[in-house]
């Protein structure tokens, strides 16, 4: 199976989403997982081709009903445990 495309999303695709993406990258590396990660803004993220969207709690509801890919909600972008857990959970769904 091809590497998943992970999109980290915030309001503008350049500030907090970047931080989230970096966080995800470091976790993937730690676990020897591979993926294509990139950032997006909440307005256009649904038009970007991807396999999963990582997004904050507040923004999630804005896209939840329209999204055609799984959405992972992150409360604390900087919390390694939370992000790690959610990334690994997502990879588990891929195995099924």
């Amino acid at each position: 199976m091809a590497n998943p495309r992970i999109q980290a999303v915030c309001g503008f695709g350049c500030g907090s989403s970047l931080m989230l993406r970096m966080k995800i990258d470091s976790i993937l590396k730690q676990h020897g997982l591979e993926a294509f990660t990139f950032t997006g803004d909440v307005g256009t993220c649904l038009a970007n081709e991807c396999d999963v969207i990582f997004i904050s709690n507040e923004l999630a509801e804005r896209i939840a009903d329209r999204a055609r890919v799984p959405i992972v909600v992150i409360n604390n972008f900087m919390n390694t445990k939370e992000v790690e857990q959610k990334v690994l959970d997502y990879y588990k769904t891929l195995e099924q």
């Binding site: 503008f12 970047l18 904050s56 507040e58 923004l59 900087m78």
Partner: protein, 779 residues
């Protein structure tokens, strides 16, 4: 024997070099004369060429060329070079025109034609060309119908111009004899005999000196007497000056005469060194300066410096001392450029076996400084904020007066006190002019009367001058150090026992005394050195505040100093420094420079210029150890600029917090205020997702026109605020502004890495002063 003028020979040479036909117009252009003059010359050349049986080939549409064999051309060249009556080139001709006007009270174009052997159109052109120089020399040229041409201006202008022109000539130039002919009736013998009698010196008078003396006698005979001797005062040999006073000329005339003689003394003594040493030193100096600041007009500077250095070198070789009344003022008012010049001269002079004294160095520093100042970008447009609570009429009047008097400024206002306070939250101002008492932390405030008196305008001007001086100092220090490789710390320069920290509020004079105390104790300086430093500030104003908040004081090396030394006094409570144009300082640095190769001033100024160090000076708990450790490293890994941090900010809600953190970037011009509003609107639209982790919010918007530079600011809050997020409450807020979607990635990733460190955010939140915060962010 048939002789050709220099120009005619030039024409022949040009014709030989060119295989093709040449037109008279083209020759006229090349030789800077009218084509009429060329035609006259060609006529003479044709007569001359008859001796060699060479014909000038003239074709109406093409021009002229020589019809000759190579062999016979070489013969012509040999002949003309061995034996010609030297004619004037363009430069000499203009000098002759100018000199003729300086010598005669009435000059006609015909007369100039006769003197210069040129056609009338050439004479007219020459006069026009030289008029600009006259204006620059302070003389006015009059063209009076039916009378002729004449010059008017102050007498010293005549003398200076005459002297300048004569010195510009080659000692063999025919212009000298031509000019001497024009004042042939004036005898200098009596004067020379008188000088010999009173000075007991045997002079050999060269043609130039003789001419200058003749001019002196001639002008005095016309009763055109100098009233102001100051323009001639600086290059004097004082011994000669006192002897000459026995000749009983007016004081100003004596000074002038003394200058002529001193110069002649120098020029007649043999030059033992190679000719172009002055030029080479000038070249090296300019190269050094150019690395710090690109020099606009290098060629002019090179010429001026070479002329000065040549005469300085011959003065030195012949032990002629110059007096420089300006030395003290130069050292005080342009200390950095003076130190720079001194340092560079010392590194250069040994190569040439020279040793410049301080007077000479100060002169050279003046050239260097003026070149530097005219070359730094004058993009600096001071922003002036006008605060006024009077009725519209008087405040508008005040504004229009300011606009007319200070065209170089950008004037904002008039604003009321309340408006001004709001304005200053979002904007910066270099100077605040107010008609009412107005309290802010901005150091540059001037209170004026709405009708704006002359004195007040002068005070504003002086304040602006100080601003631009500060700018040029900082730009010099900043670029100077880029050239240096070693990073020095205070401890490398100042001994621990010479550093003091006080929380007393001294008067500035007292503060200088306290600062100098350890050095007196150590026997490095005397009390009179300290008094001299105080007097220097009284006389020259607070020029010595080279870096914001830091005053560098020193006196001369004969004012009671035994060795190189320096001391530092840190004032926890800032004091007002100086009696005029007061500046606030929180640090006084005493520089004792005994040896001339001491560069402590430059090194210390560089260290204190660093913002991190100035911030440390503001820290209430600063220690001597911390002062000793201050260094000049640039800190490439500075993540957040210290101007972009603030601790314990009082904010009532999350919007307030975003404004506070955003305004730090607005103040430094990195973003416009519109960006702050957009950040707030974004949270309103999309919710508090910017609270990325408990206690921390990252305010930002997308790249847009309001962002000038990619930048980051950070504040800690006095009381946490609620964003309505699961991660509330927030007590650290960061603001991110980027110009595009990638320029900030590495910056942000470094910050993110820190934020992810366990306990990091708590450490930030606990900071009690900016210095601590800055340290933790950039550690």
């Amino acid at each position: 024997m048939f002789t050709l003028t220099k120009r005619q020979i030039n024409i022949i040479e040009l014709m030989i070099q060119s295989d093709d036909f040449l037109t008279a117009d083209c020759l006229a252009k090349k030789l800077n004369v009218s084509s009429r003059t060329i035609h006259n010359d060609i006529h003479t050349i044709e007569l001359f060429l008859k001796n060699y049986s060479i014909r000038m080939e003239k074709t109406p549409s093409k021009g002229m060329r020589l019809a000759a064999e190579r062999g016979s051309i070489e013969k012509i060249l040999n002949d003309v070079h061995g034996n010609h009556n030297r004619d004037l080139d363009y430069k000499e001709r203009r000098i002759l025109v100018y000199l003729t006007l300086l010598l005669n009270e009435k000059v006609s174009y015909d007369m100039l034609c006769g003197i210069c052997h040129s056609a009338k159109q050439t004479a007219v052109n020459d006069v026009n060309d030289v008029e600009q120089t006259m204006i620059a020399d302070g003389l006015t040229l009059h063209r009076k119908q039916g009378y002729g041409l004449y010059l008017s201006g102050e007498e010293y202008r005549f003398r200076l111009a005459f002297e300048k022109l004569v010195y510009a000539l080659d000692s063999r130039s025919p212009v000298l004899s031509e000019i001497r002919k024009q004042i042939g009736h004036v005898s200098t013998e009596e004067l020379k005999a008188g000088i010999q009698e009173v000075t007991n010196l045997e002079f050999k008078y060269d043609a130039v000196t003789d001419l200058l003396m003749a001019y002196f006698v001639y002008r005095n005979s016309l009763n055109k007497v100098l009233t102001d001797g100051n323009p001639f005062r600086n290059y004097l040999d004082t011994n000669i000056e006192s002897s000459l006073s026995a000749l009983q000329y007016q004081e100003a005339e004596t000074l002038y005469l003394c200058k002529i003689i001193s110069n002649s003394l120098v020029s007649q003594l043999p030059l033992s060194r190679e000719q172009n040493v002055g030029e080479r030193i000038a070249g090296e100096l300019i190269e050094k300066l150019d690395r710090i600041q690109k020099i606009g007009d290098k060629e002019t500077l090179r010429k001026e410096l070479t002329v000065h250095l040549d005469s300085a070198i011959s003065r030195m070789d012949n032990n002629v001392s110059v007096r420089n009344d300006l030395l003290e003022e130069i050292r005080m008012s342009i200390p950095l450029l003076y130190e720079f010049t001194k340092k560079e001269i010392i590194s250069i002079e040994k190569k040439y076996g020279l040793e410049f004294n301080e007077n000479e160095i100060a002169y050279i520093a003046m050239y260097i400084s003026s070149a530097f100042e005219s070359s730094i970008n004058f993009e600096f447009k001071p922003k002036v904020l006008l605060v006024c609570t009077f009725g519209m009429a008087s405040s508008q009047l005040l504004k229009s007066r300011l606009i007319t008097n200070l065209p170089e400024c950008e004037i904002e206002g008039p604003l009321s006190i309340e408006q001004a306070k709001q304005y200053l939250q979002k904007n910066s101002a270099d100077l605040i002019i107010t008609t009412v008492l107005f309290e802010t932390d901005n150091r540059n405030i001037l209170v004026v009367n709405p009708l704006l008196s002359i004195q007040e305008i002068n005070a504003i001007r002086s304040s602006l001058l100080q601003l631009s001086y500060k700018n040029s100092c900082q730009s010099f220090i900043a670029s100077y150090k880029k050239e240096q490789n070693t990073v020095l710390a205070i401890k490398d320069i100042v001994a621990e026992e010479n550093i003091q920290i006080t929380d007393k509020e001294y008067h500035w004079k007292e503060a200088i005394q306290v600062a100098g105390q350890p050095l007196i104790k150590a026997g490095s300086i005397t009390v009179s050195y300290v008094n001299r430093m105080i007097r220097a500030v009284e006389e020259y104003g607070p020029y010595m505040v080279l870096v914001e908040g830091v005053a560098f004081v020193h006196a001369g090396n004969n004012d009671g100093i035994y060795e190189d030394c320096s001391s530092v006094l840190v004032l926890k409570k800032p004091i007002r420094f100086g009696d005029r144009n007061v500046k606030k300082v929180n640090c006084i640095v005493v520089i004792g420079a005994k040896n001339k190769d001491d560069t402590n001033l430059l090194n210390l100024a560089y260290i204190f210029e660093k913002q991190k160090n100035r911030l440390l000076l503001e820290k209430p708990t600063i220690t001597v150890r911390e002062v000793l450790e201050m260094n000049g490293s640039i800190g490439n890994d500075e993540l957040i600029h210290c101007d972009h941090t603030e601790v314990n900010v009082d904010c009532s809600d999350w919007q307030d917090a975003i404004r506070a953190v955003g305004n730090l970037l607005v103040k430094t011009g990195d973003i416009e205020y519109g960006y702050v509003e957009k950040m707030i609107q974004a949270v309103k639209d999309m919710g508090p997702y910017i609270v990325l982790m408990p206690g921390f919010a990252l305010a930002h918007f997308e790249p847009c026109a309001e962002v000038r530079n990619t930048s980051v600011s950070l504040i800690t809050l006095n009381k946490p605020v609620e964003f309505g997020s699961v991660n509330d409450p927030v007590n650290v807020v960061m603001c991110l502004a980027c110009t595009d979607k990638s320029s900030h990635i590495s910056l942000l990733s470094q910050i993110a890495e820190k934020l992810l460190t366990e306990g990091y955010l708590e450490r930030l939140a606990r900071c009690t002063d900016r210095w601590q915060l800055y340290q933790i962010i950039n550690e």
